[in-house]
Assembly symmetry: C2
Homo-oligomer: 158 residues x 2
């Protein structure tokens, strides 16, 4: 008999100073947005993380770039990048060509299937973006991005 509601009304906890913290708002919002991103792709029976999407866009727009260049652009260690590229390569979306000019590096590029997939992915990302910003006007969304960029530059990389 599905009616157990003898449970306390789940009153929300006292969060103290947390709601006044920018970092806290950022973390919670990021988490919710990530969940929305995942749900958007899951419903379309596609599998992709925000990080993978960003990576694919970077490779598409900068074909031939090396793993180090890509890792720096993504702000991650080169060793972190390896298994991510392996996965995308196994999925047939991306290839590591030998560089004609530097024997140490790989020239990264999308496969034709990768290009096609990225087109699909971009549509899903658009829908996702539309949903998460539905409570905001276009001006507010622009303002939000601008403020986030300011914060990003104030946060010290070190």
């Amino acid at each position: 008999m599905a009616r157990p509601l003898n449970r306390p009304p789940a009153k929300s906890l006292d969060r103290g100073l947390l709601p006044s913290l920018l970092g806290y708002a950022l973390r919670r919002t990021q988490s919710a947005v990530f969940a929305d991103f995942a749900a958007t792709f899951a419903r379309a029976e596609e599998a992709l993380t925000p990080g993978e999407f960003g990576l694919l866009v970077l490779v598409e727009r900068n074909a031939g770039l090396s793993q180090m260049t890509l890792a720096r652009a993504l702000g991650i260690d080169r060793s972190t990048l390896v298994p991510i590229l392996n996965r995308l390569q196994t999925r047939g979306l991306l290839v590591r060509h030998p560089s004609p000019t530097d024997g140490r590096t790989h020239a990264l590029g999308l496969t034709p299937a990768g290009e096609k997939a990225l087109t699909r992915f971009a549509k899903l990302v658009k829908a996702h973006e539309k949903r998460i910003s539905e409570g905001l006007s276009a001006a507010e969304t622009a303002k939000l991005i601008e403020l986030l960029e300011k914060v990003r530059h104030s946060a010290r990389p070190l």
Copy 2:
């Protein structure tokens, strides 16, 4: 002549549509803010993550709460919470008391050392918050938090 420039001038990559995406700005800013948080604590020779700080505040302000209640407030699975509590308990900041009313649950609470540590942590968080928002006016910071909250509520939990 300082001319090591045999290397491409590290020109920044073409990011395509990424800079127009709210999710992308959110993710990058969150990452930079996290790094600043970590650096702030590292310089003070303290060790804490934003998540742990949030957890400690919640426990302090809601002493006696159960692990399930805490997990729900944090938006994580109860099994994810276990090793986190173990670590904080090992550090002597937090204790799991037996609940007087419900033999299944633990009544979480801070130790005296945990209370003291949280006071130190809160100061560091304040300094961190001040730094990341230094490029913004107080009004802009408030607006930013407000916009983030709106986005958070638009992002569908499912």
